[in-house]
Amino acid sequence: MYKSTGFVSFFLRRFTGLVLVLYLGVHMWVIGAATKGAETFNTRLELFESPVLKILEILLLAAVLYHGFDGIRLIIVHYFDVTDYRKSLFYAAFATSALLTIVGGIPLLLYALGMWS
């Protein structure tokens, strides 16, 4: 495989896109229960309270943030000539996603470990 930041971006964008589509299906299943009454809705929502799923939610956050910031990077690439700073731009998008994942992930992690209510 030809290694480059461009390829990492290409691959991760598609991978996170797939993750987001699958998540959307699950999300619609849970939230759609609102039409089936409070009990069904609460039951489904509670499925996602388990620590394992809270950890998965951190990964979901990472996917959303990466996909979003890399998407912004892509829009910049399409409107400007970024040749000279193409790698730095990718690192900036990646670093921003990583930073915000950590910031957002800490409360989720604490919740999962039962140290947050």
């Binding site: 971006s9 399409h78 000539d81």
Partner: protein, 269 residues
Amino acid sequence: MANRSFQGNSATIRVQRFNPDVDEKAYFDEFSIHLEPGTTILDALREIKSEQDGSLTYRRSCRHAICGSCAMNINGKNMLACNQPLKDHLDRRGRITIRPLPYQPIIKDLVVDRSVFWEQYQRVKPWLIPPQDVPEKEFRMSPEEVEALKDAEKCIMCGACYASCQVIGLNRRYIGPHALLKAFQKILDPRDSVPGERLAEVAGDDGVFRCHTIFNCIDACPKELNPTQAIETLRKLAQKRQAFEAMRRERQKSLIVSTPTRTAEPSGD
């Protein structure tokens, strides 16, 4: 990219081999050669072929980075073998790995079948199609118009960009950075009279909209050209190709008017 840590005077060359008449799949051979100052990767291959294994097969010609024959994959990256000092590509143990260009069928050892590469090149009609009325003298271009071509004529058709593009790896029908750079050169050339038609061709299913701006082509190009930016420009132009063609016709009218053309048979004896 120079590896200052390797200080020895011999190098280990790992070369991918494949003889379709004999082998079921590709494998690596290792050769050891003496390292002289100024030895290029191509020099190493030549030494191996002439002194160690005459069956080693690779393409080469000019040995000074103008013919484009010797593009191959060195330590995972595409480049020309003739203008790369061997020392710069050796790891700490003095090894280098040479493979043929990716994403194309291997004919033998480091030689790949480039038919699709050339077909895509032909597809974009890489020749000027002049207008009906041609000036008698030269077809003049302003320095700005030459500048806009961004040195695309420097391309030596080595294939390093084409074989580095993951879109090619996933979709053999993609026209490719090499041909799209040539299309860019012709579309922006004021001497060409069919930019609208060219833009329609490259804006189709296999063209400029298949590029995912992975940028490997820029990294691989031995002439430091920029197919990605050329493709981005073509994307913008493709969206207003009729206006662009109208502008071209106006530009060419001014050429015809300003440069005298033959209007009558010369008289006199």
